[in-house]
């Protein structure tokens, strides 16, 4: 059976035009998806966590849930972390678990676009949904972003190739890439500007000054001749509608949120000349959703502490890496993430010392160091729910096939844990 217009649960593009063939309860083919999407759909059944375990023994789901409840209810300061690769219902439950236990809840934004959010809290941002850019942008700038290798269909679906209402496809768009090396995205650009590593802040601030018509008394900034920057600023001012996409090249290099602050400032400034917007290239398919749900429920997008009975926000203090590295948390609940593989070594070391409960589909370094592992369904393939695209558009994920027998969604398992914790607290 063919299912059309399926939403892809892989990256922040959330492409919603996949055609998935389901035969005998299995995904047998997929059309329109990128190679990563194809791989996710075709291989979602491989290397699965075969059964729930607690303390290295096989358990049924209820026993594993009980073990999880025991760990979390005995913890003085649990960390609940992950959540960017699952749907919003699960995120909602995870937040409530943090509230009930007086713990800390954080999502993976703290290690990717956290600085973007900090900048937004300082200066705001001028943004647009991806269709605005498709329909109107005659100039597109990728800054520290490499969609050709990270967001595979971004260029063809949204930003560069497509025909829009007022733009006749690729030829009608000027594409500029700013990066420290000539990436694959840079190779298809009209202009590539190679910037010295960690030079972004200076370059962006220089461009802001140039937009304002200030004279700059230097020959080059971060390896870029000033005339080249002047030419770029002129081109940007002459565009009818410009869009800047930025990635971790900007958020995680020196300057971090100050880089984004400067980029936002430049784009805002450009709006006094013409129309300009910027969009962060969000990685995990629902990291934007994690920030969104966190924000409407607690007021804060990530790094939320409930130890005082109300939500407090302090990135750098209540962020997962910092809590682990300082040895502050004494238990962890990990959902849809693999911090043992991706965190700095000090943080990962502490994770190995404390009891960890992990909800996962596949075997990962994190499941290997966990006290309790509960297998879960893959959202968007085996479970439905909501996800938010990188530009904030919410889409419905579908359940295409049944999960393996005895396996439930993240939301269902988290609900069981939550109810158990509420009972235990009585």
């Amino acid at each position: 059976m063919e299912k059309v217009d399926v939403v892809c649960p892989f990256c922040g593009c959330l492409c919603d035009d996949l055609v998935v063939t389901v035969d005998g309860g299995h995904v047998t083919d997929i059309k329109n998806g990128c190679v990563v999407s194809r791989s996710k759909f075709m291989n979602h059944g491989k290397h699965r966590v075969s059964s729930a375990t607690a303390h290295n023994e096989k358990k049924n789901i209820q026993e594993a849930v009980d073990a999880a409840i025991k760990i979390l209810s005995h913890s003085k300061r649990p960390l609940i972390y992950g959540l960017s690769s699952t749907e919003c219902g699960a995120i909602s439950k995870a937040i409530e678990i943090a509230e009930v236990t007086g713990g800390v809840v954080d999502n993976t934004a703290s290690v990717c676009h956290g600085p973007t959010i900090l900048a937004l809290q300082q200066v705001g941002e001028s943004k647009a949904s991806l269709g605005e850019i498709m329909n109107r942008a005659d100039m597109v700038v990728f800054w520290g972003a490499n969609p050709t290798e990270a967001h595979l269909r971004h260029i063809t679906r949204y930003s560069v190739m497509p025909k829009g209402m007022y733009v006749e496809g690729r030829k009608a768009r000027k594409v500029v890439v700013v990066d420290v090396r000539k990436t694959r995205t840079a190779r298809m650009a009209d202009k590539f500007i190679q910037i010295q590593p960690n030079g972004d802040y200076e370059v962006l601030q220089t461009m802001r000054a140039l937009v304002r018509g200030e004279e700059i008394d230097v020959d080059e900034v971060a390896g870029i001749p000033i005339d080249e920057l002047k030419a770029l600023v002129t081109e940007m001012s002459e565009a009818k509608f410009g869009a800047v996409f930025f990635g971790l090249g900007l958020t995680q290099s020196e300057g971090r949120h100050m880089n984004i602050d400067a980029a936002v400032g430049l784009v805002s400034e450009m709006n006094r000349k013409t129309k300009f917007v910027l969009t962060p290239m969000r990685g995990h398919y629902n990291v934007a959703g994690a920030n969104t749900v966190f924000t409407w429920q607690t007021g804060h997008p990530y790094a939320v502490d409930f130890s005082r009975g109300y939500p407090r926000y302090n990135p750098g203090e209540f962020t997962a890496v910092d809590l682990l590295a300082s040895g502050e948390v004494d238990a962890a609940l990990i959902i849809a993430s693999d911090p043992a593989a991706t965190f700095p070594v000090d943080a990962a070391k502490h994770l190995a010392k404390i009891p960890v409960v992990t909800l996962e589909q596949k075997k990962t370094p994190t499941t290997m160091l966990s006290e309790v592992v509960i297998p879960v369904a893959t959202a968007g393939i085996e479970a439905d729910g909501t996800a938010y695209r990188m530009d904030g558009v919410a889409l419905r994920l579908s359940k295409l096939v049944e999960p393996p027998e005895g396996v439930f969604s993240d939301e269902h398992i988290l609900d069981l844990i939550l109810n158990g914790l509420k009972e235990a607290a009585k």
Binding site: G131, K240, A394
Partner: protein, 566 residues
């Protein structure tokens, strides 16, 4: 659920002509009834009993308010809310979290609140948040005034298709009313420009705001939608704009209203659109002009958008206005354009007592409320959080009901307020009956929510009890009024006590209301052809994934509409 009887209160139920009589109110199975036996008794002697409050314009759910929450940790920091055995934790002040929004409205005796601006592409997000707002009933108004299809059908003069589109879109977004924000202006803003006045040019379509308003108002009335168009006029925030506002009202006058009502337009947060003068230095009140017009005409209702002197967060679907505000203030600015449909902006703003223009704006809001004679035409809002957070409603009530309260505030203001508004010479003070009209009965009537805003048999059992004796109260004691209306003695929602002595005691999930208007099959089939073609060309979401699924309205009340078709 046990039946309830509220005994011996002074009941204000203007829709049923009850003005402070001592009565018992009985309810069973979520509805007001004549008699109950073995009911839980609530003693309301010496207290005020009113229908639950109905707020017809507030920003409580969706991308705009969530951007506000996201960008303002400093706002949350001064107003944190602990969890209790019944309630969730959260934050308050100008951008409250969803749970806190529900609690705080209920604590003031409000039981129904309308989200005033839903971008269609963001509808799923709006409904996710609405489902996380406990206690109150709610609805969201879908943005139409800058939608591609609206503009296209207006340009083509294809009125039947425009009507079909409105009906289809309300269904697809689970929307309750037709919201229009700066018609044409937001479309021009997508190129960084605006439209000025009713006869300005909407560039890529070569039509005018006048045509957009006319088309949508006609469609609205012919479809027989429960509420009129809900209109944020052009030129918001520009001194001299009262003229545009009156001209816009005049446009709606030519529209034939739906059977059974006289109104064809609701003008929102009118304070921001009632400015006289030429610039922010010589701005003065245009309220007398607007009041004069509204007093002479029966096709208009409006709400105040009353200004509060505090630090708040402005957020509208009016992108170019928020850009202008950013340029004026230099505060942080978020702009958010939505493909094919809408836009929005968010800028924090502090209304100050020593700011000449702000004090004039404060006076304008109250002048509108006091100079428009018929309270059924003018409703109390702060356009939360634009004029100020909704938690300041009791303060606004005090200003409406007590000249003393107004004078005490005026003494602390920049004197411009005295010179440039006529407020100091206005002696009117609202009665409790009038207060009930502008906060529940009138708003429910304007919205066409027949089961809300009154306490007649068959109405929803949404009731508020306030600890204030209206026979003893005097306007000089306005602080007691503020206190009583800030924390209801009891709030009953759907026949269940949800607040007692100002504390939330239960958190049932209220219903989301939306309108399902019938479209003839043939017209719908034609419309779908257009939608399929243009979605494929211009949207980044497929038509199939666009409509909001049933799962997003876990508790819903569907209002049928039909209307006239050729």
């Amino acid at each position: 659920m046990k039946d309830i009887i509220i005994k011996n209160g002074y009941v204000y139920d203007p829709l049923n002509g009850i003005d402070g009589e001592i009565m018992d109110i009985s309810m069973s199975k979520g509805k007001i009834v004549n008699f109950v036996k073995d009911a839980k008794e609530i003693d309301a002697s010496g207290k005020i009993v009113m229908p639950g409050g109905v707020d017809l314009h507030s920003h409580i759910a969706g991308s705009k308010i969530n951007i506000g929450r996201l960008m303002r940790p400093e706002d949350h920091r001064k107003d944190v809310v602990k969890k209790s055995s019944v309630t969730r934790s959260g934050v308050g002040y100008s951008c409250p979290s969803t749970f806190v929004t529900g609690y705080r409205y209920a604590q003031m005796g409000y039981t129904s609140v309308m989200e005033a601006a839903m971008p269609p592409l963001g509808a799923r997000h709006v409904h996710e948040e609405l489902a996380d707002i406990p206690i109150i009933d709610k609805a969201a108004f879908t943005l139409f005034g800058n939608n591609y299809f609206t503009l296209k059908y207006v340009k083509e003069g294809d009125h039947e298709k425009l009507k079909a589109f409105v009906a289809w879109m309300l269904r697809a977004t689970r929307g309750y009313a037709v919201k229009i924000v700066n018609p044409g202006g937001v479309e021009n803003w997508k190129w960084g420009r605006n439209v000025f006045g009713l006869d300005g040019n909407v560039e890529d379509y070569d039509i005018t705001p006048r045509q957009i308003v006319t088309g949508l108002a006609r469609a609205n009335e012919e479809l027989g939608l429960p509420h009129t168009i809900h209109l944020h006029c052009n030129n918001l925030g520009m001194p001299g704009n009262y003229k545009t506002t009156i001209e816009t009202m005049e446009v709606a006058k030519a529209i034939k209203p739906k059977k059974g009502r006289k109104t064809t337009v609701h003008v929102v947060h009118c304070q921001f659109n009632a400015l006289a003068g030429d610039n922010w230095m010589n701005v003065k009140s245009g309220a007398p002009h607007i009041a004069k017009y509204v007093n002479a005409n029966d096709h208009v209702t409006l709400d105040l958008g009353q200004l509060i002197f505090t630090d708040t967060t402005t957020m509208t679907g009016d992108g170019p206005w928020q850009f202008a505000l950013w340029n004026m203030t230099g505060n942080k600015w978020v702009n958010s354009d939505v493909e094919m449909e809408a836009g929005a902006g968010v800028v924090p703003y502090e209304f100050k007592k020593n700011n000449l223009a702000n004090t004039v704006q404060w006076g304008i809001g109250l002048e509108l409320a006091l100079m428009i004679k018929d309270p059924w035409k003018v409703y109390m809002t702060t356009d939360h959080p634009n004029g100020g957070p909704f938690t300041y409603y009791p303060k606004v009530m005090a200003w409406l009901m007590s000249r003393q309260a107004r004078t005490d505030t005026m003494r602390t203001l920049n004197k411009a307020c005295l010179r440039r508004t006529g407020l100091a010479d206005n002696y009117r003070e609202y009665t409790f009956n009038e207060l009930a009209v502008v906060t529940r009965a009138g708003t429910a009537q304007a919205l066409g929510l027949k089961d809300k805003g009154h306490l007649g048999v068959g109405a929803d059992a949404d009731v508020a009890v306030y600890d204030l004796d209206p026979t003893e109260w005097r306007p000089s004691r306005y602080r007691e009024l503020e206190k009583a209306f800030a924390k209801a003695s009891y709030t009953v929602k759907g026949g269940q006590v949800v607040v007692k002595d100002g504390v939330v005691t239960a958190t049932p999930l209220g219903a989301t209301h939306w309108v399902d208007a019938k479209i003839p099959e043939k017209v719908e089939a034609d419309l779908m052809k257009d939608l399929e073609r243009d979605f494929k060309r211009y949207y980044t979401v497929s038509l199939r994934n666009y409509p909001v699924e049933d799962v997003y309205t876990p508790v819903q009340k569907v209002h049928k509409a039909g209307g006239e078709w050729k």
